[in-house]
Symmetry: C2
Subunit: 351 residues, 2 copies
Amino acid sequence: MATIVDVARLAGVSTSTVSHVVNGTRHVEPTTRERVEAAIQATGYKQDALARAMKRSQSDSIGLIVSDPGEPAFAEMVRGVERAAAALGLTLLLANSAEDPQRELKAAEVLLARRVDGLILARSSGSTDDVLVEIERQGTPLVLIDRIFDLPLDQVGVKNAEAMKELVAHLAGHGHRTFGLVGGDLQVPTLRERYEGFVTGLRAEDLEVDEDLVVLGDVEVEKAYEHTRAVLNRPDRPTALIASGTILAAGALRAIEEAGLRLPDDLSFATFDGFDYADLFEPALTTVRQPAFDVGTRALQLLTERIANPKTKPRTIRLDPRVEYRRSTDGRPSAPADLPPRTRRVRTTKK
Amino acid sequence: MATIVDVARLAGVSTSTVSHVVNGTRHVEPTTRERVEAAIQATGYKQDALARAMKRSQSDSIGLIVSDPGEPAFAEMVRGVERAAAALGLTLLLANSAEDPQRELKAAEVLLARRVDGLILARSSGSTDDVLVEIERQGTPLVLIDRIFDLPLDQVGVKNAEAMKELVAHLAGHGHRTFGLVGGDLQVPTLRERYEGFVTGLRAEDLEVDEDLVVLGDVEVEKAYEHTRAVLNRPDRPTALIASGTILAAGALRAIEEAGLRLPDDLSFATFDGFDYADLFEPALTTVRQPAFDVGTRALQLLTERIANPKTKPRTIRLDPRVEYRRSTDGRPSAPADLPPRTRRVRTTKK
DNA sequence: CTGAAAGCGCTTACAG
DNA sequence: CTGAAAGCGCTTACAG
């Protein structure tokens, strides 16, 4: 690999001049410049970004830690961050915490050791303050995404409670009075906010939450399936059911099918995040879609602003999710008594 | 930020000793070691990975360029690579070519400039040899994933042709004789291989490809929708239809619904890659699922092997996709004459 | 068992 | 308009 010294020697100039030609950082006589450029061609010289970063104490890279790039919403955030970063000439270092606080801390340390200019973090559910302390200690600019905390930090998320309230109001407008929720782990801020939106949404309709119809706990398909099944087997089962996330919805849908309930005739169903191509499901599922790509791009924007001006006051941005109404919530409430005898055979009718 | 010099001074030792304590690269007297460790604690010293990389000419990082992290299969490959890389203490630099050869080349240059120890690349469809030449010129180890070429390089993909043949044989076993394919862009090796598997699969059944029932071209939902619609409106329309990828399937499914065809009674349908939670579709879709996570981990394995031993002969690994049979291919062929009058209203029956 | 010193490939005041 | 030189924070032969 040719270095700047090789180029300088071949062109008969100093390394300063080569550096300035490469970076365009000061005027160079056209004839000199040409010699340098020829030498660069001849040697196949490429700037070493690492050496440059070290000298400048600026790496032109940013780190991104997500808790699960498997979920479509996170995949979209990653895309958003990558796109915005590439547009600014920033390289993206990606790490995955897999919802494990240990791996999260480790990932942060690795990225900090690489002297990223800034860090974007979707905290894992068990995340302790260790990570934040470590990042703070190094003075590396940080933006939290998706899961928003009551902390003086830059954060980008969505209006979870508001979207859930809207969903509840919509369903109540269809006459529903008995609501179920597959809510997941309330330690996770997004899920807690959705839960709170559920509660306030019901209150706004003069309804109370029936704890027996609310499924909480680990975000796992199996668990969601089992607990939802129990809820649907109750005599006072809900006529409207909402899932707070993709995985929870997957479990709930299995329980619904097994219970022999037709959507939307026997049960109205909606979910947050949902599935790619949710319109291809039968029936099409009403889904709260978050602008995940935008969350990513906005996060990078906040980050670069903070890098440029570390004194700015921390900002928390909440983007608007979009509620996509589809057939799964078209039904009116039906009393459990109306149910056909339990069977795994179900008929549905497409629009 | 404390440096190794600060630590050495505080501990009253040389920087050599600090370095060796930190990296465990030579014996250090316990008492000396303790002093050093105390100094590290006191100063909050963290090794600078960039400076270390520069000195060692090894960055402990690898670059990954994918053509579209939006597609579930690619997202899984990214996860696989990340997991395997983290396990080896390698940092992952991620770039997205967005199927654009220009961005692909640019991304490669950026990653090479950061002196990644190796590169994993899913080439974009219009990818020219420029990228490969550039990477070759820098002598950076490379592994191609997903899209496999006839080149002496390390590559990891799946057995596309074989899986397609199996699918065709399965459908032929159900009595189908008229096959349609939504095949996409044959410039893309994966899609070309699936097309070839389609052709040889039909030949094995003494059937010929009917060009009129094969939809080729850009991988876009709209295009796939329009062209599939035309195919389904033909009097000699296929009784079995296969899509070569997720996006193509999405378009095809819309055309199927619009044509008022019931799956699997009026038409058998299967797709490569397919959708997350494909079992929740109505009817559940027969899907060729590729082991995308494994493609990622194997690619990283090949890469580290080549980094360790650059002389090894290039290897191309083909993993086995799994054909997941579901209800969408349960039907027997029905003559177009059996069709109900065209209508957008369709009835389907769940299992 | 440990240290002095060279050097990885750059950038950038400083000087002319 | 350009160059000589210091220095970013490390690692690692070399020497003792």
